[in-house]
Amino acid sequence: MTMTQPAMTTDPATDAVPGANDVFTVDGLNVFYGDHHAVSEVDLTIKEREITAFIGPSGCGKSTVLRCFNRMNDLIDIARVEGTVRYHGVDLYDEAVDPVAVRRRIGMVFQKPNPFPKSIYDNVAYGPRVGGHKGNLDEIVERSLRDAGLWDEVKDRLGESALGMSGGQQQRLCIARAIAVNPDVLLMDEPCSALDPIATGVIEELMKEIKSEYTIIIVTHNMQQAARVSDRTAFFTAEIDEHSGQRRGKLVEFDDTGSIFSNPGDERTEAYVTGRFG
């Protein structure tokens, strides 16, 4: 073990040493909702400080897989996860792992902007407060709002309700709220699906700016969005189970975004990215 150590430290950024900059390693992941086998046998590796996009038709399990990364599926009584999801080498589903501690490191932005019915300030301060942060939060609030590109728009009305903001502003507030706890990873579940093209563009620019600090995984229905922002893309599809007739999500192909869109290895990927189905 220790003998291989020098090799890792000399060149940590390349793929030459597998695992050195892997944030998540997923191995044989299966997800069930009661009797429904929703996701089957997913293997993939998420690299540090990259944007990874999950694309695929509805019901292909991409959001379900995303929600395994911060144990959000725990909130659904009937959900069951099999296989391993390693986060920097630690099995996230180990009995000793507290989902609350996981979610403090792995933040999430949801499909519909879901600001709390509180002031803009209190929305951003919520995470640090429940995380036990005592004392002055002004600095954290300002920095988070600046990082989310929202500071100049809201600095004079931090005490006003977040519900009075536009949809795009609300979603950027949710991003600010997520990064206020200084997470390692940001999971984004179709963050632009409720937004207009201009607000979408703003969020995409924001993602590119903050990816130097965060590992980002984004689920999107919008192939152009995946092509624009992501470094690597995973294409999922849904298969109909012959016996039950239920849809089961599968990972078809996972590669550099350029390859997925210009030179896909699987004909189903090609059919999807060229718009022939989905």
Binding site: V100, R104, G107, F110, P117, V130
Partner: protein, 305 residues
């Protein structure tokens, strides 16, 4: 194939009889509303007219005097006091009901046992109030007489509280269930624990709905006469020089009992007393509810809705 249509204003006009059933239905529901208003108005006017003499001639004396055999002196001070004490005891038990609702909705697993409890709570809300009177007689008057002092306002308050609890649990449970999932997920996603999510997001968002339930509960608690009858509210009593705590464990009455007692006296001259006591009860219910409604409005406004 498909001919070009000619359109004039007449073709776009509503046709006679197009929505006859809708119009009939509208008339029916409007008359139902009208009838309801008429009934409430008729009762209100009738009661106020009957009570007019007492309310205008000796309002403060009526509010401040105990029951008496003397028409000119008899009042409802003991009833007001009893009703307010009963309402206070009921309000003190609201956290129990809200806590039960939080447990059932947020913590309990969806098992046959928790479903059985849910169904039972719903059924309890429909149990006639006199049955709760019997329960109160057995448990609070006889069983716990060391605490309640027997046929006391404490026993009555607890019996009425048990009667109101199912209503509180059901309405609070519905308010909790109505809290949107994205709100919970947003808080969980930031690393909040279950209790933090409940305390900082779920309960504040559900509070307006919970308060609606408490308004209904208080109104019901104040209006109940049947359980008090079984527990043993009395028409006339004297407190002598008992202190507050002795009085809590002593003889009591309440406004619904005042009304019943005045109304069943044979002499026509007591009708005004019954009516005036009814007006006092209605105003008391209204005042307590007003507080809850103001609180609810303020919370809703703070939540930005």
């Amino acid at each position: 194939m498909h001919e070009r249509q000619t359109v004039s204003l007449d073709t776009l006009r509503a046709r006679r009889g197009d929505d006859a059933a809708g119009h009939v239905f509208f008339v029916l529901i409007t008359s139902a509303v009208g009838l309801a208003f008429f009934m409430v108005g008729a009762v209100g006017v009738d009661v106020v007219v009957e009570a007019w003499d007492i309310l205008t001639e000796r309002l403060w004396d009526f509010l401040g005097s105990p029951s008496s055999a003397d028409e000119a002196k008899s009042g409802v001070s003991q009833g007001i006091r009893g009703s307010i004490l009963i309402a206070a005891i009921v309000i003190l038990t609201f956290p129990v009901g809200i806590g039960a609702a939080v447990y059932l909705e947020e913590y309990a697993d969806d098992t046959w046992l928790s479903r059985l409890i849910q169904v039972t709570v719903r059924n309890l809300a429909g149990v006639p109030s006199i049955v709760y009177g019997l329960l109160g007689l057995a448990v609070f008057v006889k069983g716990l007489d060391g605490l309640t002092g027997g046929r006391s306002v404490i026993a009555a308050g607890l019996a009425v509280a048990v009667l109101v609890l199912p209503v509180i649990i059901i309405t609070a449970g519905e308010a909790l269930r109505a809290v949107p999932t994205p709100l919970r997920e947003g808080a969980y996603g930031l690393g909040a624990t279950q209790w933090e999510v409940i305390r900082t997001q779920v309960l504040p968002a559900a509070l307006p709905g919970i308060l609606t339930g408490t308004v209904l509960g208080i109104a019901r608690a104040l209006g109940e006469a049947a359980p008090l009858l079984v527990i043993g509210a009395v028409g006339f009593y004297t407190t002598g020089n008992q202190d507050f705590f002795e009085q809590l464990r002593g003889a009591f009455t309440a406004l619904p009992m005042n009304i019943a007692n005045y109304a069943r006296l044979p002499a026509e001259t007591w009708r005004g007393h019954a009516a005036a006591a009814s007006v006092v009860l209605l105003i008391l219910v209204f005042l307590i509810n007003l507080v809850a409604i103001v609180v609810r409005a303020r919370i809703s406004k703070r939540l930005g809705r």
